[in-house]
Amino acid sequence: MAWFDTNLLSTLVFLPLLWAVIGLAVPAKASRFWAAAGALLTFGLSLLVYSRFQTDGAEFQLMESAEWLPSLGISYTLGIDGISLWLIMLTTFLMPIAIIGSFSAIEQRVKEYYFLLLSLETAMLGAFVSLDIFLFYVFWEAMLIPMYFMIGIWGGKERIYATMKFFLYTLVGSLLMLVAIFYLAYMHKQQFGSYSTLITDLYKLQLEGGTFWTAQSLIFLAFAAAFAVKVPLFPLHTWLPDAHVQAPTAGSVILAAILLKMGGYGFMRIAFPMLPMGVAYFQLAFMVLAAIAIVYGAWVAMVQPDIKKLVAYSSVSHMGYVVLGLFALDPISVSGSYYQMLNHGVSTGALFLLVGMIYERRHTREISAFGGITKVMPLFALVFMIVTLSSVALPGTNGFIGEFMILLGSWKANPGLTAIATTGVIFGAVYMLWMFQRVMFGPVTDHHNEELKDLNFRELAIMTPLIAAIFAMGIYPNFFFSKLNPSIDRMITRTMGKTGFKGLSGVARAATLPESHS
């Protein structure tokens, strides 16, 4: 077991891929069960990782390292801190749910479908455990491929258009990130005598910053392009509604719940601690975009005729909170942002599953096709209501903790923007409750809806853990924060502690927008 102990993270990352490859030999009829078993096994393994993680231990734990391309300083280095930990748990927790949730939805090319889902899990987990920025990049890019095929093959009518947009956006972002990575590795050689892509090495770089045409600002922008597309931050969000609407249910769930989190994770792991002055330079600009995203996303969500598109725009709004809190750079807001990422994973994942369930029954997602569903599907109504409340951040649910902390923490950095962002609390209730009312309340107007079957056992079984998470995270968030706090503190210290950092809550700066460079 010695090998297993020292390679726990590698095992966790590659187990799904291995399982997927073996799964190709499993008969098509059984492949869904095979995939579910693999995802559950991975979840079990992640619990082991969780139990090994020590709150007050070293910064990065369960480290593994092997040489890869030593001449370029590229290595295969894995390790986790609190920031990785909960995103890993989120991934392994949602994967079985997404897979079991697809049992009845996917009827064609079943084997390929589950192969892609499991390989996607490997790529996502890999990105969360990589401590080498190049390795991170490889996993980052690898994530795109399965998602691209999932939308392209099992997607809806407009899937080609959606995949093209998805591809274009992410490609541009990724290429800029790659350039930035090269530059950082090169700078490491300049300053320390050798190439390195080790993240912890790159934290030590001293780069020029403070104005627009400096290394920190430009490199920050390059990374931010990749991360902001993923988040997605207004105005780079328009791939999301199409990708979501066209993707099969599990694709939407994974896309919203985990892939979007890569953006936030990238900011926290890479952009912030490596480029503090870049962050400081663009802090206000990003907070402005985030505040716009919150309100804009909510308003546009309000007028959507399609439930899935509404949920997609709600993601733009919810992820706007994440960016706002991150850039406010207060421990409260940053922890809130992180928590909001987990919340969004759980709640929006649950929403997409619910939309999928109703779609499988009615083959439409038009809000106007429904009405009075509560009467025919009372259990569905109950679950849908709880998830809706989580999405509108009702206290007692997970959503509240995240939003409250983000807004509370951001107030210090910029009260005006925070006040604008806080109106999202109102509009969030408007679009969600209005949609809920039109779908669930009133008389049953369409005779197609009269005979809809309520949730079956399988559907209830996958929603139950999500409901449990919604309340557990809302009532006892300290369970999560206790393991997270040291890592967040380190990240913020790295960012704000460096000499020359001038952020909103630090020294006030007159010119902050990129246009006003000197």
């Binding site: 922890s335 206290p395 109102i426 409750l433």
Partner: protein, 678 residues
């Protein structure tokens, strides 16, 4: 063990909730009767009442300064500067509220057993009702703003669920949504106030906040540098929250619509408890509000305006519940006037007496509606005195109490407010005068309602009422079928009006007794309440108290009694003959129409806020997202031949090909990049 107070309603909620969701809700499953589900819920809330009494007695046994019981359940959020415990605190203020919530709550639960007996889903009703009590108790027991906010939004949720209880009627569902959203506007302000408090004082705990605020102010005063701008901003923002929850101008518009819910809900949530949360918050933070005369003035003005304005609307409403709803808004206005002139104790006093008599009036109205087979229009009633003698008697008590005739409870609390409005340094004769005019209008519209409902001759055909009723019931409860069988179940009253069963009238009698005697809590110059609340709400300005003594107080009291009596007699005279009333209405037709249509406030809000946002949102979507941003992106896409090729590939192929692609893609990318570097 304060959590005991919370535990019982939570248990009741879980028992009824799980039972309902899994064994009663689905088509084909049978609903449990209101007797069993109601008994569970009533027992739960009664146990909570017993616990509340126990803790009250415990507090009572302590010395006044040490009257605090605390319990920290767990650490809620501990991040950075935010150290937030999930803590409960009972003091002389919150204990009064727990008693009212659980006490009146128990009566309303019991009443509901009868009222909901024909409903198709009493299990769901009692689930929500217990959840409401749980949330309301958290609201008053929460030791910090966020814990309070948990209850604050929790009661909002229950209000939403219960207003839209008969959700198959889309109008009722809409009313619930409106309540939630309007409350969210208030909560937006509440949150901003919370943020300011946190960054200004570093804590959100009420007990920790008090010395910080008070000593900070004292220090500033000593240094001659008093600046209350921040305090004023905080106070006004939190008051914005109160405007939502306690239905004040400009956010009162949800409350009248909230009458779509079952009548016991109107009594419990929208009269006795939830809507008084704003008063509770002001009383809780009185140490802060008292520092800002600006904030106090705003509150007093808003309260006065709300009290007056909604009274004008109440005068012309014909729906018995709508009259009571506007009356509630108006009475809440009085309570805010009290707080606004610094007389928090008077506000709390009116909260308590109002809880008694308004719950009584609502439940009485429910009894009337029940007896009249879902008829709510008072113009179509009349002469119910003989048909429903018990309801008539208790309703009369509530009527006299709200009109402010001594020695009934409403007189004492309202008179206390009017007196304070006149003589407090924060008040003034203008507040008193408007309060007095409002009192006359109150007496008038309540008498009008009472007269139209119970006095005179019936204005309905009793024979057709049964047939009409079955139709009416089926209409309002159509999804719950059961209510339509009202006649079959109730053989004692085959058709026509009937008195309500004992399970409904008994709670009414208790409430009537409380409405009659509740004033004893706060007799002028011998107020038990004032002394009891002293540790939380310091006595208001000794000097003012002295100045008020002597003749003036008796004069004011005399004037308000005469005013109330005038209102009553005028209304009694006018509505003895409906033709005369109608003639009067015709003479002031435009005024009558305007108040009947609630001054068109809903329509104005719709035009100013709702429509523009909807139109703008549509534009943002179609013109910004789709037409602008997308066009740029897709423009790039069209140019790229490469993309087209890539996209086409996925249309064909087999699994082997994809798997190969996947691996090759990664390898190719890596290889290419490495090649480029070396």
């Amino acid at each position: 063990m304060l959590a005991l107070i919370l535990l019982f309603p939570l248990l009741g909620f879980l028992i009824n909730g799980i039972w309902y969701a899994f064994f009663q809700a689905r088509p084909g499953q049978h609903s449990a009767s209101s007797t069993v589900t109601g008994a569970v819920a009533s027992l739960a809330i009664f146990a909570s009442f017993a616990a509340s009494v126990f803790f009250f007695l415990q507090l009572h046994g302590m010395s006044p300064e040490s009257r605090v019981i605390e319990q920290t359940l767990f650490s809620w959020i501990d991040v950075g500067a935010l150290k937030l415990d999930f803590a409960l605190r009972l003091d002389s203020l919150s204990t009064l509220f727990t008693l009212v919530i659980t006490g009146v709550g128990t009566l309303i639960h019991i009443y509901s057993i009868g009222y909901m007996s024909h409903d198709a889903a009493p299990g769901k009703f009692f689930t929500y009702l217990n959840l409401f009590c749980f949330a309301m108790l958290i609201l008053v027991l929460g030791a910090s703003l966020p814990v309070m906010f948990l209850g604050w939004e929790g009661v909002g949720l229950c209000s939403y669920l219960l207003i839209g209880f008969w959700y198959t009627d889309i109008e009722k569902a809409k009313a619930g949504k409106k309540a939630f959203i309007v409350n969210r506007i208030g909560d937006f302000c509440f949150l901003l106030g919370t943020f300011m408090i946190f960054w200004h004082f570093g804590t959100l705990d009420f007990a920790a906040l008090r010395p910080l605020v008070v000593s900070g102010h004292a220090a500033a005063a000593a240094a001659g540098a008093v600046n209350v701008t921040t305090i004023t901003a905080i106070c006004l923002l939190l008051f914005g929250g109160c405007c939502g929850k306690s239905a004040q101008i400009p956010l009162y518009v949800w409350l009248p619509d909230a009458m779509a819910g079952p009548t016991p809900v109107s009594a419990l949530i929208h009269a006795a408890t939830m809507v008084t949360s704003g008063i509770y918050l002001l009383a809780r933070l009185n140490f802060m509000y008292s520092l800002s005369s600006t904030a106090l003035s705003v509150i007093a003005i808003v309260g006065t305006a709300t009290a007056f304005f909604s009274a004008t609307i109440a005068i012309t409403q014909t729906d018995i519940k709508k009259v009571l709803a506007y009356s509630t808004v108006s009475q809440l206005g009085y309570m805010f006037v009290a707080c606004g002139v610094g007389a928090y104790t008077a506000g709390v006093f009116h909260v308590i007496t109002h809880a008694f008599f308004k719950a009584l009036l609502f439940l009485g109205a429910g009894s009337v509606i029940h007896g009249m087979h879902e008829e709510q229009n008072i113009v179509k009633m009349g002469g119910l005195r003989g048909k429903m003698p018990q309801t008539f008697a208790v309703f009369a008590v509530g009527w006299i109490a709200i009109c402010g005739i001594p020695p009934f409870s409403g007189f004492f609390s309202k008179d206390e407010i009017l007196g304070q409005a006149f003589s407090s340094p924060h008040g003034g004769p203008v507040f008193w005068l408007f309060g007095l005019i409002t009192a006359i209008m109150t007496a008038f519209y309540m008498t009008r309602m009472f007269s139209l409902t119970f006095l005179g001759k019936p204005r309905f055909d009793e024979k057709t009422l049964g047939a009409h009723a079955a139709h009416g019931a089926a209409h309002s409860h159509d999804n719950h079928g059961g209510h339509a069988d009202v006649e079959e179940d109730d053989h004692s009253a085959p058709a026509g009006v009937h008195e309500s069963p004992l399970i409904m009238t008994a709670p009414l009698m208790v409430l009537a007794a409380l409405s009659a005697l509740g004033g004893l809590l706060g007799l002028p110059h011998a107020s038990w309440l004032e002394g009891w609340l002293e540790p939380v709400i310091p006595a208001l300005h000794e000097a003012a108290g002295a100045a008020e003594g002597g003749g003036l107080e008796w004069v004011l009291m005399g004037v308000s009694v005469v005013a109330a009596a005038a209102g009553i007699f005028f209304a009694l005279g006018l509505y003895k003959d409906l033709n005369r009333a109608n003639a009067l209405a015709k003479r002031f037709a435009w005024l009558h129409k305007a108040t009947e249509n609630k001054w068109y406030i809903d329509e104005i809000y719709e035009a100013i806020f709702v429509r523009p946002i909807q139109v703008l949102s549509g534009l943002l979507w179609k013109d910004v997202d789709v037409a602008f941003i997308d066009r740029i992106v897709v423009g790039f896409g069209r140019v790229s031949e490469f993309t087209g090729q890539t996209v086409r590939v996925i249309q064909t192929g087999s699994i082997q090909f994809y798997a190969l692609m996947l691996v090759m893609g990664v390898l190719a990318a890596v290889g290419y990049l490495l090649y480029g570097m070396v």
